[in-house]
Homo-oligomer: 331 residues x 2
């Protein structure tokens, strides 16, 4: 079997984020649930955009954000996800390639425009996301190059993209290819709404031993386990996956490796500005150290450092030099 | 004569900024002059974009940035400038309207795309700008509504837009309309390259008494006066305009009102991140207080507060609440 040439290949939504400040009254007026992600159609996206404040556009997408962090930490990465051939699609493609990530998925020449996520950031730094999936949800199964999947040490999958039919089929196929090639599969649960719709799928994958590394947050792991209480949820899921990670915002994060539990406190942040991307960058920091074979404590610490960086400014991609922050922390 | 219903109407470039971090080697490799603005054609813009780092998109344009600051400070404003009917054009139009600025210029349906400014920010926080003017430079004279010009207390003109023919004609016509209606005309010199090309035009306007308020920085005022030395330049130009303002970066700013000189120190900034928009926001703070009839010292102080806010983060539009910062400063 060939040695992997990429550290991580990810399949995820190819999205440009549009970030604006909003107050709680705006969320109430537009019936938005703080902290959640909802899918919106083109008309709702236009209506929300017309009403939201002046924005900041930054490339996003959960798995793509994680790759941005991994690439910043020096890992070799590839991304699979679809934009349309329009200005926002060019922005997304430019940004991910500028980070050194291999990205060769063709732009869609017809159909809906590039996905965008309208993000309202409230004064408490919480982000409330409204995603118009556009071209991203139509990622064709044909966009998967089996050689690229085989070429990566870890296949990283974004739960958000489990919802639309074609990408779900592509991801199932990617899991099979990766496992057959002896690669690891990492999966992030993404959000309560995908778990509500596809939690049984996810549990099937887990029970079948298809998932090596499972990323979650406190609410998601409880939704997946269908129990109330973080400890109960960890107790239910941890025995079924070799490596379970669950982030808990200001309470830090937990990893359970083959039954052994490790914890880390949240890294200090001078001012939390925008929590968008916290989980994505935690996954990046964790995986970067994990790929290097570091102990779990170090993986957790690097995850919390990367998450702390991304919540200190608007946008879900790192702005500061993550390698330098890692070195400062003596990791 | 009717009372003005707008405080400020501005004519300027309608641009989306694309901001990326770069090092000095990148500037050298691409023969870019640090701190300056250069116009680039579509091919050069594409080449630079392909080579620059991952970006952050934020609406920009010098006069439009000034209006963003004025609107944030509670003033009633209007903007005249042209985008194309594309995604970046929609971003620009959305953002300026979301600030409460009246913006009714039609989008161009053919011709080049919306203008973008590729901004490299070096670790010293200096910005180096490469502008593809696209649809912005084709602002037709017909886009000027004389009633809108007459409706504003102050007509604010961006020197950058003096370079292309059609907008220059539109601006000359706007000056005549404003003066006939008894309004004030404010002008910002923008950059050395426009002064090199049109400094004689600017001096003619000044000598003819067409300019009431002139904004400049240290380098620009010397270029206009064709002298070496800030004091020499101020001495040459101040007697010719009722109100001359010149910003001096960390050395603060100077205003000369009918021969009387006033100065202010730069407002403190915890960390200077990106100097893009410093002059634009200084003009906003100054004009906001000036329109309210405040003493020149207060105008200078509010200018320095607005400039300090905008250089503390990426992007040339204010992120913090300028009214709150003004109140905190007791102005």
């Amino acid at each position: 079997m060939n040695q992997p040439t990429l550290d991580v290949v990810a399949i995820g939504n190819a999205i440009v984020d549009v970030i604006a400040q909003a107050d709680d009254a705006f969320l109430a007026e537009h019936a938005l649930t703080k902290g959640a992600m909802q899918l919106v159609d083109a008309d709702t996206a236009d209506l929300l955009y017309d009403n939201m404040g002046a924005g900041l556009e930054v490339s996003g997408g959960s798995a793509a954000n994680t790759l941005a962090g991994l690439a910043a930490l020096g890992l070799k990465c590839g991304f699979i996800g679809q934009v349309a051939d329009d200005q926002l699609g060019q922005v997304f493609a430019h940004d991910i390639r500028a980070l050194g990530v291999t990205y060769t998925t063709d732009m869609a020449n017809d159909g809906p425009p590039t996905a965008r996520c309208l993000i309202m950031v409230t004064p408490d730094a919480q982000r409330t996301m409204n995603t118009f999936l556009g071209a991203s949800q139509n990622l064709p199964a044909a966009a998967l190059d089996p050689d690229v999947i085989r070429s990566a040490n870890i296949l990283y999958l974004e739960g958000y993209l489990w919802d639309p039919d074609e990408p779900r089929a592509a991801m199932r196929s990617a899991i099979a290819i990766a496992r057959e090639a002896g690669r690891k599969v990492a999966f992030t649960l993404s959000d309560g709404f995908v778990i509500a719709r596809h939690g049984d799928d996810f549990m099937d994958l887990i029970n079948q031993g298809q998932i090596d590394i499972l990323f979650s947050n406190e609410a998601e792991i409880q939704a997946l386990a269908k129990v109330d209480g973080f400890e109960e949820a960890i107790a239910a899921i941890a025995p079924k996956v070799p490596l379970l990670i669950s982030t808990r915002s200001e309470k830090g994060a937990v990893a359970v490796v083959n039954g052994v539990r490790h914890e880390v406190a949240a890294a200090p942040v001078t001012q939390v500005v925008d929590t968008t991307g916290a989980g994505d960058l935690f996954a990046a920091g964790f995986l970067a150290a994990h790929v290097e074979g570091k102990p779990v404590e170090e993986c957790l610490k690097l995850g919390s450092i990367a998450a702390a960086e991304v919540i200190s400014h608007y946008g879900a991609r790192p702005e500061a030099d993550l390698k330098a922050l890692r070195a400062q922390a003596g990791l």
